[in-house]
Structures are given as structure tokens and as C-alpha cells.
């Protein structure tokens, strides 16, 4: 009973194959212009792609070959648009009732009141949208979207127009609502933290193509390509050659510009093969920061510059074996002080072996450490 989307289109360019598991919250994440809102709009039935199909469970919503294209009212959907798009001339309750026109008049008001109560805006039914705060407008938009009891809820950047503290409340409310309703949710967002907090599944898209999909924690921890890694905010993306596998210790050994690196065993690649590898900037640490002197994955570097961001320092390092590249490190101010991290000074760093992710080399053929100056 999952929601399957398989579409191709010229303008905007889309060539996508997505599967959203039933009853789960799936985030569709990508930079602006990646096609995520277009994807949501075609699931909603607001436009039709030139080719492909969209099915939910056993029902076909769109199929170019069979010339099926159900209008939005015949798809079991509720939509929360980015700026909520409440009807400005109707009260909050009338806004919700506007989604219930298929019911006899007498049933609309109680159903609308119930939906407003579910979205925690029960007392605000008589107010017009311009009399509501951003958070209240969002809740009314959610009430309107769930009023028809849709099987699929489509949320387009639903938290982007509210302040930070309201957003946290709304996150919790969305989770609670989802637990109550159990519907399939497609959450379109450009915010990875939001996706990580809310969704159990994640689809990364860029330029209208699917880059990676899977369980949120898997995708976040194990990008499958340099492209996915960059979309997941990994700034340390490099290329190495695979030296050997050490199956006893469950390690793969890499040769990175003459520096031996140990990474979790990845037997998809053979010795001698080129691989890309990435590591989170939080897993690059001053070499003896853990209180013990580690022996592997040590890299000699020179500090290029240091930027303080709150309690953290963002440090750019030039690795001595390949000084043209940039290795990024995020370290607490406290650790940096004790390790004497300062611009132009030498620094030994250790790359946490378990945090290195290896992947097939990307086509661009360039180590991106260079590209993130």
C-alpha cells in the first residue's frame, strides 16, 4: 500500500522513481530548484508529467500510458501548502468546511470542529486568517488538510514560515497527529535537521533525480555517493585508492596521498580500485583529544584558518600530504584551547575510522576538499 511515483518530465526536468512506505513520514529533501515541490504537486494532481505513473496501494492516480489522471478531489490527499494558502475571506472553521463540501451541510460543522480540535486550534474557528499568528495559520491549514481524512498527507515546507520556538511545538504536534492518524506523509523540506527529526524515511533529490533513498538514519550515516554526501552536508569528500581488506578486524585500508587510513570493511571494492570517502567534520579530532594516543588514521596538517561559531570552532586544515586539499574539522572551543589550535600552526588530527564512509568514485573525478574553499 505504498505511494509509488515514477515520472519523467522535460520542464521542469524530472526523472524520478520514489516509493513512500505506507503509514510512514517520508521526507523529500533537496536544494531549491531540485524538483521537490514539483514532485509534491504532481502527487497532488495539480499538474501532470509527460510520462510515468503514480499509484497508491491498488489505486492508480496517474498513468500516462493508460491515460489515467485523477483530479485532486479523487485522490485521497490532504495538502498543506508552503504559505498555507488559507482562504482569506473565510473564517478558520469555514476554511476547514470548504474541504468538506462532499458531505451534507449539517455534517460539515461538527467535522470541521473536530479537525480544528485535532490540530489544537479548537477555540479559533471564528477568526479570519489575518487574525491568526503564523503558527495558528499552519494549524488551521493542517486541520483543513486532515478534515477529509486523507490516506496521504502532503506537506510543502510547512514549517518555513514560523519562528523557531513555534516550529519546535509544531514538530511535536505533527508527530502526535501522525501517530493518531497513521496516514502516509510526504514532507517536502530543504532542512536536513527537520527531516532527521520528523521522518523515518528520506529521499534525497537533486536536479529532478533521486540521489538516494532509504531509512533516514541509514541515509544520513551512509551516503552512497559523493553527490549524496554533499547534499547531506558532508564537507569532507575525498578520493583514495583501496589498499587492502582486513577481514579479521573488519576493516578496509585506504591509501590517501600516502597516508594509510582504516575504514569500516567495504568489500564491494577490490584492492587497487579508486574509491571516494567521506567523513563528518565532527569526526575529525585533534589526535590525542580522546585522552589516549591513537595510532591509526593520523594525518599531519597545518591549520589554515579558524572560525568561531558559538561554542564550536570550524577549522580548515591543509593536510601535509596534499596541501592543496582542505580538511574540515568541527571542534569544541574547550578542546581547541587545550590543543592550541590556531591559524598557521601544525596540528595532528585523527579521523575516526568507524566514521569513514567509502563509496564508488563520482564522475567529476575531483576531490571535493578543493571545491569547498
Amino acid at each position: 500500500m505504498s505511494l509509488r511515483v515514477e515520472v519523467r518530465h522535460e520542464r521542469p526536468p524530472l526523472d524520478l522513481r520514489l516509493e513512500l512506505p505506507e503509514g510512514a513520514i517520508t521526507s523529500v529533501v533537496g536544494p531549491s530548484g531540485s524538483g521537490k515541490t514539483s514532485t509534491l504537486r504532481l502527487v497532488a494532481g495539480l499538474w501532470a508529467p509527460s510520462e510515468g505513473s503514480i499509484t497508491f496501494g491498488g489505486t492508480t492516480w496517474f498513468a500516462s500510458r493508460a491515460r489515467i489522471n485523477l483530479p485532486p478531489r479523487d485522490r485521497s490527499i490532504g495538502v498543506v501548502p508552503q504559505r498555507y494558502a488559507l482562504f482569506p475571506h473565510l473564517t478558520a472553521r469555514q476554511n476547514v468546511e470548504a474541504a468538506l463540501l462532499h458531505l451534507p451541510g449539517a455534517q460539515r460543522t461538527p467535522r470541521a470542529e473536530a479537525a480544528l480540535a485535532r490540530a489544537h486550534v479548537a477555540g479559533l474557528g471564528a477568526r479570519y486568517p489575518h487574525e491568526l499568528s503564523g503558527g495558528q495559520q499552519q494549524r488551521v491549514a493542517v486541520a483543513r488538510a486532515i478534515a477529509r481524512e486523507p490516506r496521504v498527507l502532503l506537506l510543502d515546507e510547512p514549517f518555513s514560515s514560523v519562528d523557531r520556538s513555534t516550529r519546535k511545538h509544531l514538530y511535536a504536534e505533527l508527530k502526535r497527529l501522525h501517530a493518531e492518524l497513521g496516514c502516509t506523509v510526504m514532507l517536502v523540506t530543504h532542512d536536513l535537521d527537520e527531516a532527521a527529526l520528523l521522518s523515518s524515511h528520506l529521499c534525497l533529490i537533486r536536479r529532478g533525480r533521486l540521489v538516494q533513498a532509504g531509512a533516514t538514519q541509514d541515509v544520513l550515516a551512509r551516503p552512497e555517493s559523493a553527490e549524496a554526501a554533499r547534499l547531506l552536508d558532508y564537507v569532507n569528500v575525498f578520493r583514495a585508492s583501496l589498499a587492502s581488506h582486513d577481514t579479521d578486524r573488519h576493516l578496509s585500508r585506504l591509501d590517501w596521498h600516502g597516508v594509510p587510513l582504516a575504514a569500516p570493511l567495504d568489500d564491494r571494492f577490490r584492492a587497487g580500485q579508486r574509491v571516494d570517502w567521506v567523513i563528518s567534520h565532527a569526526e575529525v579530532l585533534p589526535a590525542d583529544a580522546g585522552g589516549h594516543l591513537a595510532t591509526d588514521n593520523i594525518v599531519r596538517t597545518t591549520v589554515r584558518d579558524v572560525v568561531t561559531l558559538g561554542d564550536d570552532l570550524h577549522v580548515r586544515l591543509a593536510p601535509d600530504p596534499a596541501p592543496a586539499l582542505t580538511l574540515h574539522m568541527k571542534v569544541s572551543r574547550h578542546v581547541a584551547f587545550h590543543r592550541h589550535v590556531s591559524a598557521a600552526s601544525p596540528l595532528l588530527v585523527r579521523l575516526t575510522p568507524s566514521a569513514i564512509v567509502t563509496m564508488a568514485p563520482s564522475d567529476d573525478g575531483d576531490e571535493s576538499g578543493r571545491g569547498h574553499e
Binding site: P72, G78, P81, L86, A98, R144
Partner: protein, 224 residues
Amino acid sequence: MEWDAIRLSLALAGWTLAFLLPAGIVLARWLATARFAGRHWVEGLLALPLVLPPTVLGYYLLVAMGGSSSLGRWFQAATGTTLAFSFMGLVAASLLFNLPFAVQPIQRAIEAIDPDVREAAVCCGMTPWQTLLRIELPLAWPGVLSAAVLTFAHTLGEFGVVLMVGGNIPGETRTVALAIYDRAQSFDTGAAGSMSLMLLAVSFLTIAVSYGLGNRVPGTRRRR
């Protein structure tokens, strides 16, 4: 005061509104939402009465309605009277020369509705008719109102087309604008003055009241 002429002008304005407003709404919505090649030609055709000299429009209408045109012959066969120089002919001409006044304000008002709001209506399960009646028209209400007022006031004041198509037949096609002209020509300044003052007052009142009402539509002032 020529009460016959005043009554006739009001009847003409009323019939014009009754026919033109629904047609104007449908046309305006189509122009506001549909995308098609050659749209500027359609819009240009609709706006023609704004720039054409009324005598030119009147001339063509007279030719189209006259006994030598197929429309004129058909009408005469069907009703026994001519379309030109009749009240019916006047209504038909009035519908045409008022088209831009009825369509443009509604079209602009519908175009000003946030497309997200229209899509939200579709996603709420509304049919196109429900969207028009429940969302678009209430939001475009000031535009509909000003279309109605402009059409009404313009019909009361139209002179050239009415004279060309209707002649100046008392009780049939003699509108208040023609009556004012006639009275002024025969130096009856008293009657011409009082009828002019009445037209001025009615036009000013309707426009001022429509502006006032337009501002009271809930939510429209804060529309994004």
C-alpha cells in the same frame, strides 16, 4: 425631466447588467486562468470598444442589425420587428460596447488571487464551479462590483452608439443622454440641466458606494 427617457435608460442599464455580468464573469475567469496562444488577440478584440469612436462601432452595429444583413433578416423573420432602431437592438449594442467595462475589472481581480489559494481549493476537493462560486467570486467581489458599476454608469451615459443604432425614438430608444442633447439643442437648459445633474448624482453615488463596499469585503485588504 423626461421620465420616459430616464426609465428607458434605467431599463437598458438593468438588462445590460443582467446579461453581461454572468457572461463577463465566465469570460474574465477564462482569460485570467487559461493559457493559450493568441490570447492577446482575444483581449485586444474585447478592449476595442474602449478605443473605437462610438460612431464607428455604432455604424458596424447598424450594418449588422439592418435589414440587409442575415442577422437583421433572421431577427425580423422571428419577431416581426427590426433589430435596428428597437430597444432589443439597443440592448444588443449595449452588451457589446460594455464588454471591456464588464470583463476587465473582473479579470484583474481574479488574476490578483494568489494562485496558491486557487490550488488549495482544488486540493480541498472543490470542482471548478465550486472554486468559482466559493473562492474566486467572493475574493474578486470588488472587481465584480466595479464591473457592475462601470457598466451601469457607462450605459446611462453612452451617446454615440445609442444614437447610431437606436435613432432617437421616444419611448423605444430615446435614452436620457439623447434627451439631454435634444433639450440642449433646443435651448431648454432647465430640462437639460436637471437631467444632467441627475445623471451626475446617480453616477457619483453608485461609484462612491461601490468603492465603500469593495473595501469591506473580509480578508481582501490583507490579501497577499
